[in-house]
Amino acid sequence: MFAFTLGTLSAIGGFIDIGDLVADALVGARFGLALAWVTVVSVIGIACYAEMSARITVQTRRPAFDLIRSRLGPGYALVGLVGAFAVTGLLVMAELSGVALALQLATSVHYLLWVPVVAAVVLLLIWVLPFETMERIYGLLGLTMLVFVVAVWHLDPDWPRLWSSATTPVPPASESWPAYLFFVVTLIGAQMTPYEMFFFSSGAVESRWGPKDLTEMRVNVLVGFPLGGLLAIAIQAVAFLVFFDAGIQVEHLAETVLPVGLALGKLGLAIALLGVFAATFGATLETLFSTGYQIAQYFGWSYGKVQPPAQAARFTTVVVGLLLLSTALAMTTLDPITVTIFAVVFSATVLPLTFLPVLLVGNDRQVMGQLANGRLSNTLGTVTLAISTVAALAALPLLVLTRGGSS
């Protein structure tokens, strides 16, 4: 029972990373809740694929990234891999900057001096901490993001107005259709992340799940992800309530949590900062490992946290190398918000390459036996794949057309 609650809570808290935080705050400030439907669709899609990939892992006893190369072939799988590497490099860069900026706010020491310190701490933690511990801590600390939900309540909003905004899926008067569509793609890229999909997968292998754990996993997915989505909508709502009428756009990371401070005062702000810290710092550890796993499984290397670092030398080198690269990028003072937006849009362009192999294996009766996909899985899976394919094709043109969402 305890393990189950832990799993669900981790899923909720782990839903939000810096991509979500930035995208939701940006979207709320400019569009209100007119894009909340994207979150709903994304939650359904990612829940479907998280369940599918966990089920595959239970049946095959192999981690889900294992499938990608055998189903797509090494060429397309490499494209997805390079995409994942680039996206993670950018996101970790933004996350390092985010934590450093938070520390700057607290200590008045310039954030560029904090970046290497934070990177060093991350390096130490990934060397020392077991993977599951990291995942749990990250997930649980992320629950502090629930303060955003509390903040919505506290702001005593005009509920009919919130509802009307959410049920009017068109750009508000101040925005154009291209910008609206660009942010549809942005939210898809931010909220359907491969990491979430394989969230249960690594645990399933290491804990040696069997078919009876399937029910527990499904409950985790059905409860955890929607609540995570609710958190995302709360971030949009809070930004809407505080920034929209004043026409303020979110341009700095600090502005993503400011609304909570306005609603709940210093304590609320502190909790929100803790939540943001957990989301960004935790996500750094998670995404570094996740990408490391993906690369290791593409080439068939042994990977860390199962083997000691000396026996998984290539995996360790890649993870550490990626961290160093991100640190170097963070030292260039590139704006973390812009970098995050680019990262999630690129993530959206390679998303179909992550869904397709899972959908194919899920339907392979020789591999899956009794656990092969049923109608519901296949229907939701196909629709999600179709949506993500359209988003992937539209992503780069919209990026160029709207100049990164600024027009």
């Binding site: 189903r71 797509l72 194919l360 392979d364 996909n373 196909t382």
Partner: protein, 114 residues
């Protein structure tokens, strides 16, 4: 020669007509020390229908869904033909020549259900 070279070769029959690229290689063999052990060997090639029905498993029937992908690959899966190793004249990477004509080649689905 390498399997990857086979997979990027073109099959040409005795009249010079091209059957397109090799999309799959069929192998047989039992590893291990037991009595039924046999070395891995190439038993035939598969051409026709485009790459996807084969890469995704629809051509050999191991994938039956999802519905949309099955429908999209159905025609290609039906067009696939099997080239038995016995018919190959020359195993030259790039171009594989076979005896007889393309039209005599069995369809993959027929071959699999023999």
């Amino acid at each position: 020669m390498r399997i990857s070279e086979l997979l990027s070769s073109e099959v040409v029959d005795e009249t010079g007509r091209s059957g397109g690229w090799v999309h799959d290689v069929r192998i047989s063999g039992e590893p291990g020390p037991g009595e039924e052990a046999a070395p891995f060997r190439v038993v035939g090639l598969v051409i026709g229908g485009g790459r996807l029905p084969h890469a995704w498993g629809f051509a050999e029937g191991r994938a039956t869904g999802p519905w949309l992908l099955r429908v999209l690959t159905a025609r290609g899966a039906r067009q696939a033909r099997f080239v038995p190793a016995a018919r190959v004249e020359s195993w030259e990477a790039g171009t594989i020549r076979i005896r007889g004509r393309l039209g005599d080649l069995p369809r993959l689905i027929d071959e699999l259900h023999r």
